[in-house]
Amino acid sequence: MKKRIGVYVCECGPNIAGAVDIDRVLEAVLSLDGVAVAEKYGLLCSGDGKKYLVEQVREHGLTHLVVGACSPKQHELTFMTVCEESGLNPFLFQMANIREQVAWITPDTEKATERTIRHLKAAIRRVLYHTALEQKEIETNPDVLVIGGGMAGISAALSLGSSRKVYVVDKRDALGGKALKYEKSSPGMANSADVVENYLRGIETDENIEVLTNTNVEEVRGFFGNFLVKLRENDAESDARELRVGAIIVALGMDPLDSEVLSEYGYGKIQNVYTSLELEQANVDGKLGMSGGGKPKSVGIVHCVGRKEAGYCSEICCTVGMKIACYLQEKFPGIAVTEFYQDLSIPGRGAQVLYEEARRAGTEFIRATNVQLSESDDKIKISYERDHDKTEEKPVDMVVLLVGIGPPADAEKISNLLSVPLGKGGFFTEEHAKISPVSSSIEGIYLAGCASGPKGIPETISQSEAVAGKILAGLVPGRKIETEAKTSRIAENLCMGCQTCLDVCCYGAISYNETRGICVVNEVLCKGCGNCAAACPSGAASHQHFTSRQVYQEIAEIVK
């Protein structure tokens, strides 16, 4: 079919008309190959302007549209909608920014006119090589797989169970995670086990939630809306179970930082040195006390264990230390509790309340560095530097090490299964640390709780509910999802199977077809970032709306 391009220049009041000789521009472009009509209009983005454009496309039987106006940021979508209304594929359209890039910055009319001609010619040459792109719709499965049945996993499942089937998978033999081991949760000091058990009752009574304990995730294929997951019971010879789900939540929780750090504090050698988790467990078991029985008269709580090695602050240890001080003071009235801290990290109102409570109960806070433990008689000698110079010592009966939070033990395995990368500290990486903190870079795979970094229980629940919000909004039963139209493609005959594109794809959208020896783009997952097109050494990968030809044609005209 013969190409018939319509070129329309917006006067934008005096903004363009006052700076550019538009009539000369129109005359210059009208004679170009493929241009059927070139006109100007007062304000194309106005209601009348849009109607005018629709009529023009129909009247002249236009196959392509070029608009010279403001920044595409402002009105590209406006004119793409015009295309749709007039029956033209919206990708057969190109916008030239002649207001911001020419009119507003070029005082000389002669120069501005020449530049405008060049911008428009570039747009015209480019649009000739545009292809019609379609936004596809795909059917989806609304069900959700939750990996990990701790606080993050169960609170997410409970928020989703009313609208779809939710599978909660945990390799352990029961749900509840670490929060079950705490008497109280800091900083709010609510009864943790009660709350978790309440959640678990909710899970039990929700018919839509299926719990799969002692179960591992073995394989994950597919994409947002259509994942196929293979599960297998621990050590079972039984067949794998296959599930179809539309979204996956990574709620693996955390594990305490490496034990190597602990041995530096004499942990395992010196009696009555406990980790915070051990103390929590002993507390809920009613076994709080010295190892040989008996009540401790003095306890030192050492903060920031493992922080230096890990290179980050675990966020919750300060308040955990204060919580433990409160446990001890309640159980052993008159006990002397000393917190050896570096910096008190207690953001927010709740943490301050707990801090004040710990102080009121008589807890001593010492800013200390270089804390070391040694045995001396029946006591543990804590030596430390106060204010970075004075070395002091304090003998205590018992020491609690506030061990930092590390990534969950399974992080690497699950990361590989899902193609969701691990980043800082070995935690799962968010799609965007600030504005997309509960999504992963793979659409349809979400992160909740400590899997993406250390956090307390309130923040964990907040993340779980946030994931639920994303899924409830984006994966609605019976609703199809729209895919990106501007995707990449890999030409079969040019691809040599080097798989360079696999490494640079941020969205897990490319896979390697072993039998054919080529890479293939999944158009549902592809977001059109163009990384593969830039990295491909053989020119097989290209972005459909930024092909080399389109870009070169545009550049050739603009640099003339």
Binding site: G13, G348, K434, E465
Partner: protein, 426 residues
């Protein structure tokens, strides 16, 4: 569709900062129709006042603008700027809210945002958006790039509204967008749920004992610093003192007002070290001091940011700090942790004031019938919960209205509020 079903699909979001924007976009994706109410003439909240945000030092506008554009283009979201909530009645599932939408006096449909109306305006006054460091006209947009890109007339300062004959802006407008006859509107909406995302303010440092701060001196607030560094700010990103000189030394003071308010504001340590980057970026020779009480840099990525910048400033721990201003300098008097008295004279002092509830927060809480604590933040931080509960069914909280937090947590809480809302209506 029955009227009830229609109401079920309508949601009111109060406050169009990052939290309100995120909540609105997620609700719209779920098929809800959103009234997004913002009291200022522009939206984007506090985040858009920053040139860059920690810890990745991303351009804040570049981060926020695509979300803002999405709000403006989304047919399911009606953004009501210059608007206040006057009354809320009803129950979860069927609230009626009365909103006053103040006149902008510029027709948003007709205006193309060319700004031709500013030049002829005879009135110049300090721009509060720029912390009074720059000026604006009586017809204005708050800063270049502000969205929506439609000016508003400040009737308190416009000479026409004071009774003089002036229509210079109207004459300059080629699009007949300026309409002096626009009236304030009373809008009534019926919604099934409400999300409150009204954000925060910084504590007024002039009220803090021991801190001498005047708007002509060498002591600056964190927000003034943000605008000084902003490329769309009053100095176009040039860091100069009010006297016009470049500072050769600066002290950044953490925890200003913390003792008064009684809690840690969560984000000040991080942005204070961001200022080290700002200042050394523009003035490589500057001598910098950070006055720190406790470093609060939680999470997997914040410490690395601190470590990258800590050697570019002398870090001093302090207690009992006081600040006084001289003609060309400012002096910090403080005690070291071991109790020694000390003073330091610098060209510039930058304060990191406490985060406090937004102006009018308690009044709005009364209108909404929601819980607010001693400090004035909504809801509660106690117990085991995400913080989105307002104490009134059908009303949810998001962002700093509930307590100080960074952008990531505000966004998370906004999605969480939507999660709770959608889960309860499914």
């Amino acid at each position: 569709m029955s009227q009830n079903a229609e109401v079920a699909d309508q949601i009111l979001v109060i406050g169009a900062g990052m939290a309100g924007i995120e909540a609105s976009l997620t609700l719209a994706a779920a098929g809800k129709n959103v009234y997004l109410v913002e009291r200022e003439p522009l939206f984007g909240g506090q985040a858009i006042k920053c040139e860059e945000v920690f810890a990745n030092m991303e351009c804040a506008t570049c981060m926020a603008a695509p979300m803002q554009q999405e709000v403006l283009q989304n047919e399911r979201i009606e953004l009501l700027t210059l608007s206040d909530i006057k009354e809320v009645q009803g129950v979860a599932g069927d609230f009626t809210a009365k909103i006053t939408k103040r006149a902008r006096y510029v027709d948003s449909e007709a205006c193309i945002g060319c700004n031709a109306c500013f030049d002829p305006c005879p009135v110049s006054l300090p721009n509060t958006f720029e912390e009074d460091l720059g000026e604006r006209k009586a017809i204005y947009i708050s800063c270049p790039g502000a969205l929506p890109n439609v000016p508003a007339i400040d009737t308190e300062n416009c000479v026409r509204f004071a009774g003089e004959e002036c229509n210079l802006c109207q004459e300059a407008c080629m699009f007949e967008a300026i309409d002096f006859d626009q009236k304030d509107e009373e809008i009534e909406v019926r919604v099934s749920a409400i999300i409150v995302a009204t954000g925060y303010d910084l504590q007024d440092v002039s009220q803090i004992a021991g801190v001498e701060y005047t708007e002509s001196g060498n002591v600056y607030t964190a927000r003034e610093m943000e605008r000084l560094y902003a490329s769309n700010g009053p100095t176009e990103g040039k860091i100069v003192l009010r006297s016009g000189k470049e500072p050769t030394s600066a002290a950044i003071v953490h925890c200003v007002g913390r003792e008064d308010i009684g809690y840690c504001s969560a984000v000040c340590c991080m942005y204070s070290f961001k200022f080290v980057h700002y200042l050394t970026d523009k003035l490589p020779e500057i001598k910098l001091y950070e006055f720190v009480s406790d470093l609060c840099i939680p999470g997997k990525s914040y410490q690395a940011f601190y470590e990258k910048l800590k050697d570019k400033a002398q870090i001093t721990r302090f207690q009992n700090l006081a600040i006084s201003q001289q003609d060309d300098t400012a002096t910090i008097s403080f005690q070291t942790p071991s109790g020694e008295d000390n003073t330091l004279e610098v060209d510039m002092v930058i304060l990191a004031p406490a985060i406090v509830p937004a102006k009018g927060a308690s009044e709005l809480a009364e209108v909404l019938g929601i819980r607010y604590g001693e400090a004035g933040f909504y809801g509660t931080e106690s117990g085991i919960q995400s913080g989105v509960d307002s104490g009134r069914q059908g009303v949810y909280l998001a962002g700093c209205a509930q307590g100080p937090k960074d952008i990531a947590r505000s966004i998370t809480q906004a999605s969480a509020a939507v999660g709770r809302l959608l889960a309860s209506t499914d």
